[in-house]
């Protein structure tokens, strides 16, 4: 049987439990070879789901949290090395 809370009271959906990664139409893809580690993408991401790790003096690794990335493309736009490319998800290809 359907159970409804009095007055529409419910425990809030914590954002950690509520994944939004499937909302977007695009996803970012990075070429780590081009990355110079400026971290523009990291600080520009509105969902804070980019992490830039320093591997050694010249090598950086960029990782995305696809549970929350909505594919806005800001990271690709701000990247001065053109290391990030936005790719259309399979389902949205026409």
């Amino acid at each position: 049987m359907l159970k409804i809370g009095l007055g529409g009271v419910s425990e809030p959906y914590l954002s950690l439990k509520f994944k939004t990664g499937d909302w977007g139409t695009h996803f970012p893809s990075v070429d780590n070879e081009k990355c110079k580690g400026c971290r523009d993408c990291e600080i520009s991401c509105p969902e804070a789901c980019i992490e830039v790790k320093k591997l050694n003096k010249k090598k950086f690794e960029v990782t995305f949290d696809f549970d929350f990335c909505k594919g806005c493309g800001i990271c690709a736009y701000v990247c001065r090395e053109d290391a990030i490319e936005m790719i259309v998800k399979e389902a949205y290809k026409v």
């Binding site: 359907l2 409804i4 809370g5 009095l6 007055g7 529409g8 009271v9 419910s10 425990e11 809030p12």
Partner: protein, 390 residues
């Protein structure tokens, strides 16, 4: 303790005895002095742990009360006319969130044209909001009704806002002897509010969550069930109150002469005057009776049927208009009393505070008895006028 007080103080003193936790209001004529008196009491430390918050608007006041009520606080506000309309968005949500906020509405006409005087258009406008509405005849009644309002609203099977509607000026500004309630007696009748769900910092909750089409209807059905069930709960509390105080204000409907063939229905402070006129006519041998409608929401269909079972002509004195149709009380009476087939004569009187003279009431009732008017809706006491372009 019998005292001669104004309507404002009658409400404020009764609310004080109900021990509210949060009072939040914004001043509006003719309600202002209710919250002014409560603010006095707060400043004098008479309200205990109560929080008195001055809001920046009625919208703010209602919003603060929604928050307060969600944390399990007994909350109260008073408003009027445009203030009630400004509150309406929040109050509709409060009803859906099942928050038992109690408010007093000092009935005043709605703009435009701007008028600060009394009619019942404002609370009638809130008819479909799932807020209980009780109309008051005098200042002792409003004094007695406040604890009942809190008790019914906070009943676990109801959990809905309760609006006590008293005529602005006619009651609020009037001096009347009122038997002020005793603290211990109210404490015994009205236990502290024990909320079924409480919002707190440690337990974040969403109130009135998003309900997509597969679930929305069920929430609305639950609201309808709650307000329909509130009728019986109100009657029980009215009876309990009568036992405690010895003052019987009747049920949802008070049929003062149930055998009468011509029933005159009124709501609010007009009842006293109509009762006077009708008893005069009864002495002349006319078969007329007064039916006082107290509860407007939930609408007491069965009680109305019972009160009007002998009537073949029903006169309704309206203090509001459902523009584009007719008098709002007559609409309800017709739908409730459909099977009896009695003629309903509805008269809009005293809009925007216009005086309702005794002679006008007498004239209207005489006109109906003598069959000089057709059943239906009309305005009474209107001056001849012409609309011109200024």
């Amino acid at each position: 303790m019998m005292k001669v007080v104004r309507g404002f103080y009658s409400v404020a003193y009764s609310v004080k005895q109900c021990k509210p936790d949060v009072i939040c209001a914004y001043p509006i004529t003719p309600q202002t002095e209710i919250v002014e008196r409560l603010a006095d009491m707060y400043a004098n430390g008479e309200l205990g742990n109560c929080e008195y918050i001055t809001a920046e608007s009625e919208f703010g006041a209602a919003s603060i009360l929604v928050g307060a009520s969600a944390t399990g606080a007994r909350s109260f506000t008073a408003t009027s006319s445009q203030g009630l309309i400004l509150m309406s968005e929040v109050l509709l949500s409060a009803a859906g969130m099942r928050l038992p906020i109690v408010l007093v509405n000092a009935n005043r006409s709605l703009s435009a044209p701007l008028s600060i005087w009394n009619d019942q258009q404002d609370s009638i406008f809130m008819r479909d909001a799932c807020i209980m509405q009780l109309y008051i005849e005098n200042n002792q009644e409003v004094h007695d009704v406040m604890p009942i309002a809190f008790k019914v609203a906070e009943n676990r099977r109801v959990m809905l806002p309760f609006m006590v509607c008293m005529d602005g000026y006619k009651l609020t500004h009037a001096y009347e002897p009122v038997d002020l309630l005793d603290e211990q007696m109210v404490d015994k009748f009205l236990p502290p509010y024990d909320a079924p769900v409480k919002l707190s910092v440690d337990k974040p909750l969403t109130f009135g969550c998003y309900a997509p089409p597969p679930y929305y209807t069920e929430f609305r059905v639950a609201m309808q069930n709650a307000i329909m069930g509130a009728g019986d709960i109100m009657l029980k509390e009215f009876k309990k109150w009568y036992k405690i105080t010895g003052r019987d204000w009747g049920g949802h409907v008070v049929a003062e002469n149930p055998d009468a063939e011509v029933a005159v229905i009124t709501m609010g402070s007009l009842t006293g005057l109509v009762r006077d006129v009708v008893s005069e006519m009864q002495k002349e041998g006319k078969n007329v009776g007064v039916v006082k409608l107290r509860t407007f929401r939930p609408f007491p269909v069965e009680d109305i049927k019972k009160a009007l079972k002998n009537a073949n002509k029903i006169i309704v004195f309206e203090r509001a208009v459902s523009f584009g149709h007719e008098g709002p009380v007559a609409i309800e009476i017709k739908s409730a009393n459909y099977e009896s087939g009695a003629d309903v004569y509805s008269f809009a009187v005293g809009l925007g505070g216009r005086d309702i003279p005794r002679d006008l009431i007498r004239e209207i009732i005489d006109k109906v008895i003598e069959g000089k008017v057709e059943p239906g809706f009309q305005f009474e006491g209107v001056k001849p006028f012409e609309e011109v372009i200024p």
